[in-house]
Every structure is written in C-alpha cells, then in structure tokens.
Symmetry: C2
Subunit: 335 residues, 2 copies
Amino acid sequence: MVRMQDVAQVMGVSTTTVSNAFSRPDQLSTELRDRILTRAAKMGYYGPHVAGRILRQGHANAYGVVFMDPLQSAFDDQFKIQWLAGFSDELRTAQASLVLMTVPATQQASATALRNTLVDGIAVTWSSHPIMSMARSQGLPVVAGGPHGPCYVTIDEHAAGTAIAAHLRERGHDHVCLITGPVAHQHPTPVTMTWADYLAAERPNGPWARTQGIVNGLGPCPPTVAQATSWGRAAGAAAAAAALDACPNTTALACVGDPLAIGALDELNRRHLSPGVDIAVTGFDGIPDTEERDLTTIDTYARDQGTHTARLLVDPNCQPRQLILGHELIHRASS
Amino acid sequence: MVRMQDVAQVMGVSTTTVSNAFSRPDQLSTELRDRILTRAAKMGYYGPHVAGRILRQGHANAYGVVFMDPLQSAFDDQFKIQWLAGFSDELRTAQASLVLMTVPATQQASATALRNTLVDGIAVTWSSHPIMSMARSQGLPVVAGGPHGPCYVTIDEHAAGTAIAAHLRERGHDHVCLITGPVAHQHPTPVTMTWADYLAAERPNGPWARTQGIVNGLGPCPPTVAQATSWGRAAGAAAAAAALDACPNTTALACVGDPLAIGALDELNRRHLSPGVDIAVTGFDGIPDTEERDLTTIDTYARDQGTHTARLLVDPNCQPRQLILGHELIHRASS
DNA sequence: TTGTAAGCGTTATCAG
DNA sequence: CTGATAACGCTTACAA
C-alpha cells in the first residue's frame, strides 16, 4: 500500500503538504497542488486512507440505524421503508454514511454491536431497545423513535388515535372493534376480548399510546379487541374474520396499523361486504398502499420523521431535540 | 475519553494485558481478566475503541452496497429488497456491518464515495457503475450483480428469457408484445415499435440479456415492443394500454420485470379482459406480489443472490468467484 | 507557503 | 502468562 508519506518523499515535500493538497486546497499554491495530485495518481495513491483520518479526527461521519429483527421484517414494513428513505436522503446531503444494524433486543447483542460498529451516533426507529441506554451511557448520541430520553422524533400518537376514533364516532359508530397486533403476549390464533380484559392482560408496550388514544376517543363506548398474530396483512384479515364472527353487530374496525387494516379490507371483500358502507375500516400510518385501497388512515409522515431524525444526529446543536411532528387524518371511502 | 492505557496504568499492568483481557481471553488468567474487566467498567471503559482497532488491523469488517438513485427507488423495488435481505442476513452471521451507499453513476460521485466510506469491499446490485472499476483499481474487492469483472453473482438471464418465451410459444402465442422499461433512451410516454426498430434504436444496457433471451425464445415470430416510461407498475399499465391499442391482435404480453407485468394485469382488469384466458401475461424476477396476482414469472432467487454476494465479499477465498445461480419458471394462471 | 513533530487508540511481535 | 516496543496512516498546532 502506498502511503501519504511515500508521495511526500517522492515529491520532496512534507506529508503536511500532501495532506493539504487533498484536504485543504487553500493552504498551498494551485501549481504545487496539481503537481502533487497528478503525481500521487501516477503512484497509485488515491487519497487519504479513511481509517487513518477517522482515528485522527475522532469521528467517522457514519450513523447507524438499529433494527431489531432480521432485516426482512423491516423491509416488509412500508412505514420503516419510508422512514429510512427520508433518513438516508438527509444523511446523503450531509455527506455521511448510513450503517444498517440488526440487533436483537438483548444486552449481549447490543454490547457486541456497539463494539463492532464504527458510528458517530445511532437512531432507533421504535420504542425501547437495550442498545439505547447502553449507547447513551457510553456517550454515543442516540435519537429515539418515541418519547424516551433526551432526544427523539415522534408524533403525538395519543392525539392521532383520538382523532381517528372521533372520526368514527362522528359517523355514529358505537360498536367498534379495535384490531391490534401482538404486544406483550403472542397467541397462535387471533383472539377477541373486551377492552377491559385486554387492558388487564397486556403490558404497555408497542404502540400503546395510539391504542389508548383510540379508546379514549371512543369515549363512552369501549371497543371490543381482536388481537392479530402479527402486524401483517394476512394476520389482519384473520383477526377481522374473528372479530366479525365473534361480534356480528360490529360497525367499524379500527386497526392500529395500515397492514392490519388492508388485511381487514381483504376479509370484507371475501365476505362481499362493502368497506365504508356495510362496515367502516380505518388504518394507521398512511403507507402508500392505503391510497389504492381507499383506506381512511392517519398519515404519520414516516419520511419526515426519518429526515428529522437524521438531522438531529448529524447536527448536535440542532434545536429543539425533542420533536413532536404533526399528523393528518386522511378521510377516504373506507369510512 | 478513557483509553486502554489508562486502565492499564490504574491496574498496574501493560496495555497488552488489557487488550488481551478484551480480545484474547486465553492469553491471561481468568482471575486477572475478571479483575481488569470489572475495573475497566468501573472506570467507564467499555472496550477497545473501534477506530483504533480498525487502523491497526487494517480492515473494518464492514461492507458496502451501492445503489445508484435516491434510496427510495431501491426500496420500491421488491427484487432489491429481497436481495438486500439475503445480503444482510449473511453479513450478520459473519458479524460484519452493512453500509448503504447511494452513489450517482458518475466518476465524481464514485470517487467521493470511496474516499468517505470505510468498507472492506462493495457490492453493486446491477450491471455497470463507474464505482466498480474505480474500486477495483484501488484494490477494493467488488462483487458485481451481472457477468462483469472477476467476481460476480448472477443468473443466466438469457436462458431465463428463452425459457419464458418458450413457455409462451408452447401455448401457441405468436403475437407477443414485449413490454420493457427505459434503457438508453427515455420517452415521455409509452412507445410501441417493431423489434427491429427497437434493436436499432437502443443500446445494450439494462437487462439486455433477458430481453434478447425472450426474443430468441420466441424464434421465428419476433415480438412487437412497448417501451414503458419507467420500470414501475403504473408505467407497465400505460405501456400495456399502448400495446393493446396499437396491436389489437396481441395474444401475450411478455414483461421484462414483475412490476411492469403487474401493471399490465391492472390494465387488463380495467378492460375486463381475463389474464391467461383472453391474453397471457408474464413477468420476470418472482417478487412476492406475483403470487397474489397469480402471475407466471421467472423466479430469479433474489434472496439467494444477495446471500451469495455477501459470502463472496466476506470470504475472499470462497470459490468459485463467478457464480451463475439457477432460476425457475413459475407457471401460474396468467398464462 | 511549507515543514516538524506529536499524537489519535489499538494490536502484533518478540522477548522474558 | 506478561511486558516493552513498534507500527497502522493520518491531521494539526506550531514553528519557520
């Protein structure tokens, strides 16, 4: 490998001058700089070695995004995709690198990840992960995807939930079924229950705030709950089926995520029921697919959340550091 | 910042011993190791600094994946998503980091990217990009996504194209329209033409091999060509509409990518034509959506391609280094 | 405008 | 099992 020193030696100048030729053009004459650059190229020297620069400067200009599961599950999630697109674009304009980290939610895995990854900060897309506190205690900047810690980007999930519930109430729905995914407990098949039972059984994990928001917005008419086996579309269809069978008088399905809601629409199709006419369906997040399916939902501006997260990471002086972005009710034919 | 040396000094041992305590447990007594580790933790030392290690060892244990466009377009592409999932899983088992690089296809951008990114090798998902030769000339390992250079992972695109064309011929289709995306030239609206004209007008970029394979497989009945304005679903629908209007006797639409084909199915729906009965439609790549739409396609095993690419990158001794993986015709109702 | 020299934090080698 | 020493390749005060 040819080093900066080699170039300097051949040219009969100091390494400083060669360094400047590459990184601080204003520190030497254009003429000398050009000579150095062309000579370096001829010698097979293509510029300062990244590792050396990083060690010296003390930062890598790279930021990590933490996902819990095998990446596949993140890519199946349009919300995360949109979020990542925004995040990535912002990093690119800042000339920074993006490192994708898949880290199981354990102390062990978090420690290993932090010891093997060279980044100047990390973003965690959803709620809590042991890596968050671990990174913070090591002095590594962290931007969270929920209202935890000193720096985060989120929306007012509770208010958003309330808004969509209010939308349903205005339309006279007083037999709502809430369709949600696995939170603390995972069942092998969809389970239906009363809100009171659900409240007693589950822990406030996952999108708890939006769930509570929906229920609060429903006011005096607590929903029944159908708990799907995953947050995906097929699981949503199965849960909708279970809900409709268990509570035939249901007039609306309030889903805690868009994929669940799209699955519910699938199930209505299968039963030749018309969404928005026979039964209302609402989603949550505003992923692109909701438009085609004409699904009423809350747009949580995933892309913007990603953009702002990157901005906080790149610029430690960016204020404020606890961002609660807006959301928007998208009223479509499904309600 | 607390360094390894500080720990060594406090403990009254050499830095070597502290280093060993973290990285080579067999080089010292368990008892001493434990004392060092607990003491280090107490001092706020969480393990060797990544940048130092990287500089010393000469490798970063990180690998880059290069995308041309803003990441959004990569995420809209299910083939790339699947590919990336396989790639990522393989890297994870190798304990290596994954760096996402979005690099416009210019010399300038490629040079900048290589100078700012710390990776031990890169993968380029499709065909040629200036960064490939640039990286190789700098001694950085490159795995390509097409049959170029010393190391690549691909399938026999020509054979795959021939296979799907043969499938159509067996079913008696002799008025096939080939639907493809923009290759060298981009038109503002879909354009239809004869194969001869297309051949004369376009350069052998993009998925040229699979296109030629399809045409060869069609044998004595050259297709007409409809060139869509992008590789996406909506563009596929528009191109299908143009094709059906221009050539009413068309009996089959052979699409060069699955999204185009799904768009074509959309258009058939709109015209109340039945895929596989009134008109045959075929796709290419075998993305997950094809199953639901009952689309005949070629599964190119995107995930496997990603996995093998990562393996070649991680293990420079892995042989052979020019992989042509298998593909499979998936016969469904659309033909 | 250019040069000198001191690190940045680690690990490999080799000797004890 | 432990320690001294020499890189790894670069940047940046500071001095000339």
